[in-house]
């Protein structure tokens, strides 16, 4: 901040800590977000509640790098060779006794962005049709939310009547799916959101394995949701709530009825906020500092108390938070529209984040002591397994009347998921859940995990998370007697089952037995109830944005600027003296050439003796006007 204010800084290069000269030089704490994350979209209106407390805010290490206007480029360079060269050039040319008075070793950083002013302006400009080549300046942030229903919701009951979900009959488990920091494609967060995603999927799998045969009278289903874009004022949850209120969740039934049943093979009943019994939200769950877990309860009622009691009775070390306000969480969005929903927020912090690298490039596996090769018995895997087991058990205890077994989470899948999300995309689980004609069987598989930033289009992170979710909660479709043929035709037949219905999502994935060193040679058809839904702010809906008041704070309005390729180069600069000399010579030459040309033309008849006669009388200089 102080450096920026001097006005002398033209650009910043941050050397990466993965290799090279600065390897493992991680700061004690660093967070790119503000001390009170998402404070403008908080349920509360006073700053004190938004922050937990202004003296001790949720995210004390927040330096607010994300939401400030930086008018110079900030580059992160991970490659060890490049950072070494940069440092050597500086050491050799810019410091020492022979140093020059000008920066001999210089760097040029290019980071051109097209958008200007704010989202409203650049989005409006992108939509003005002025020429046949429209220019886009920015795009709204957008990806997909994922949701999973424990029990399939066929819109038509066996006796032919249409199914209507009862009020307050579905328990909801929620976690955010995205990470954020200031460096593009480096947004991988271990504590937030990976631990939440992994635990949620493990809980869903545990409940699925326990096989609920019937529910208690006031429960009809359990829903799991992974919402995207929550780091940016709750984009995903705002969209889900909006869709629910527009009767568009899980799909627009009214539109379907009008067009005479596009989904004639099966629809799902509508679901909206009134069907939610309570929300259990999973926040940051890593046990890097300590294994103590906390719950923050809001609108506590007997259902919540029941869950709390059951969780407390489990081996999990969970305590009530000493705060009276709800930490920044997706539940805020639901509460704003329906203030009486009971919320249970589970996290690894009481008053302030225990994750000192929240929304930072340093929130990685290394810092949280995770390594896939350390196996299932490492601290973090066991800890998350414990949480998932306890939560699955509590939910089943509350909701189910009859199950086949008690739910237990599987540490093996937790370890596999952590490997893929936090360590490398070249992991065995991605090979199991990949589709045969897609990643990882097509394209380059590098060693970095996928970025978890919402971005402006669907991402690999979302797609692979969906497939992982489907893989762990789906039933395998048994093949009929005749084989389906080769991989492509098997895939086609499997995906055909998705036609005209919205009750199940059939996905064709390679599976654990269908691949080897060379690639995938077969695949399996999975029948799941995991769906995706567009996660883009309602403010950018075609019928909303023209009249939407962008200053109203009702919906998030984050957009990303269009940009050309980002590059940088290092070079040795010539001295100012040389530059001035070059300029002077150039100017002199120009000034000399003007009278020289004039004289040459005037005396041209003397200089050029033969032939060439100038139009008009000798010596005449008037330029001839254009003949009409």
């Amino acid at each position: 901040e102080k450096l920026k204010n001097t006005g002398n800084v033209n650009g910043v290069i941050l050397p990466g800590i993965k290799e090279g000269k600065w390897k493992d030089k991680i700061p004690r704490a660093q967070s790119d977000d503000i001390p009170c994350p998402n404070q403008d979209s908080s349920l509360y209106s006073d700053l004190e509640s938004r922050c937990g407390s202004t003296q001790r805010p949720w995210n004390p290490d927040g330096e607010n790098l994300l939401w400030k206007n930086w008018d110079f480029p900030i580059f992160l360079i991970n490659d060890g060779n490049t950072t070494a060269k940069l440092y050597d050039c500086y050491a050799e040319h810019n410091t020492g006794p022979e140093a020059t008075t000008w920066p001999l070793c210089s760097v040029e950083l290019k980071s051109p962005m097209y958008a200007a002013k704010d989202s409203e302006t650049c989005y409006r400009r992108s939509n003005i049709i002025v020429s046949i080549e429209p220019q886009d300046y920015c795009e709204p942030l957008s990806d997909y939310n994922l949701y999973y229903f424990q029990t399939p919701r066929n819109g038509t009951q066996p006796d032919g009547r249409s199914f209507v979900q009862k009020e307050k009959s579905v328990a909801v488990v929620l976690a955010r799916m995205d990470a954020l920091n200031i460096f593009d494609k480096e947004e991988v967060g271990f504590d937030s959101p990976t631990t939440g995603i992994v635990t949620l999927i493990a809980t869903a799998q545990a409940i699925k394995k326990a096989l609920i045969r019937s529910y208690k009278p006031d429960y009809e289903n359990i829903m799991f949701m992974l919402v995207h874009g929550e780091s940016l004022d709750y984009i995903g949850s705002n969209r889900i709530v909006y869709d629910m209120m527009q009767e568009d969740f899980p799909m627009k039934l009214s539109k379907d009825l009008q067009s005479n049943g596009i989904l004639k093979n099966g629809t799902q009943a509508l679901f909206n906020l009134t069907n939610i019994k309570y929300i259990v939200e999973l926040g940051q769950l890593a046990n890097t500092q300590s294994s103590e877990m906390y719950y923050h309860a809001h609108n506590t009622n007997e259902d919540i108390i029941g869950i709390i009691n059951r969780l407390s009775a489990s081996p999990l070390d969970i305590k009530k938070s000493t705060r009276t306000v709800l930490p920044p969480s997706s539940s805020h969005t639901f509460l704003k529209k329906m203030p009486d929903i009971p919320i249970l927020f589970i996290s690894n912090f009481d008053q302030q984040y225990s994750n000192v690298y929240f929304h930072s490039i340093y929130d990685n596996a290394l810092v949280h002591n995770y390594k896939y090769s350390a196996g299932e018995n490492q601290r973090i895997v066991q800890h998350l397994t414990q949480i998932a087991t306890a939560l699955a058990d509590a939910l089943v205890f509350a909701a189910a009347a009859d199950t086949q077994s008690t739910p237990k989470a599987d540490p093996g899948i937790i370890n596999s998921m952590l490997e893929c999300f936090a360590e490398t995309r070249n992991c065995s689980l991605y090979r199991d859940v990949g589709r045969p004609r897609n990643f990882p069987y097509v394209g380059i598989v590098s060693d970095e995990p996928f970025a978890q930033y919402i971005s402006v289009h669907s991402s690999f992170h979302t797609t692979m998370t969906k497939q992982i979710f489907q893989y762990f909660t789906a039933d395998v479709v048994e093949q009929e007697e005749e084989e389906c043929g080769d991989v492509d035709s098997c895939q086609k037949q499997c995906l055909m089952r998705n036609k005209d219905q919205m009750v199940y999502r059939y996905q064709f994935m390679v599976g654990p037995d269908c691949h080897n060193q060379t690639g995938a040679f077969c695949g399996v058809c999975y029948k799941s109830t995991v769906f995706e839904k567009l996660a883009r702010s309602p403010a950018f809906e075609p019928d909303v944005w023209k009249t939407y008041d962008f200053t109203s704070n009702e919906y998030p309005t984050w957009t990303e600027s269009y940009w050309k390729s980002i590059s940088g180069r290092m070079f040795l600069q010539p001295s100012p003296a040389i530059q001035h000399t070059t300029l002077a010579i150039g100017l002199t030459l120009t000034l000399l050439s003007l009278p020289l040309t004039y004289f040459l033309q005037k005396k041209s008849s003397i200089i050029f003796e033969d032939g060439a006669s100038v139009t008009g009388a000798a010596g005449s200089n008037t330029p001839a006007p254009v003949a009409l």
């Binding site: 302006t121 409006r124 002025v130 020429s131 220019q135 008009g616 008037t622 001839a624 254009v626 009409l628």
Partner: protein, 99 residues
């Protein structure tokens, strides 16, 4: 056309000057400017000849006309440049090529 050539009669010159003057009314201030500059020598420097008064008149009027246009353009450019950002949406709808 070379106005110095003997083939161009004075009547043709007057005719040309008046034609240019008329054309300039079709929102073509540059035509007026060209008219004024081109016929200036004819109208004010050369000796008296038949029809020179007319040329003088047209040159002066063309000059004034292009001057008014120039002042108008400069004023609008300055105003728009100063206020484009403040005008927000209206300015964007007026612009053909933003950025």
């Amino acid at each position: 056309m070379d106005l110095q050539s003997r083939k161009v009669t004075n009547e043709m010159k007057v005719d040309l000057c008046s034609k240019y003057f008329m054309i300039g009314f079709a929102f073509l201030p540059f035509v007026w400017l060209v008219n004024a500059v081109w016929f200036f020598k004819e109208g004010f420097v050369k000796e008296e000849f038949e029809g020179q008064q007319k040329i003088k008149k047209y040159v002066i009027l063309s000059g004034i006309g292009s001057l008014i246009w120039t002042i108008g353009f400069i004023s609008w450019i300055v105003i728009f440049d100063q206020n484009r950002v403040a005008w927000g949406a209206t300015a964007d709808y007026m612009s053909f090529n933003i950025a």
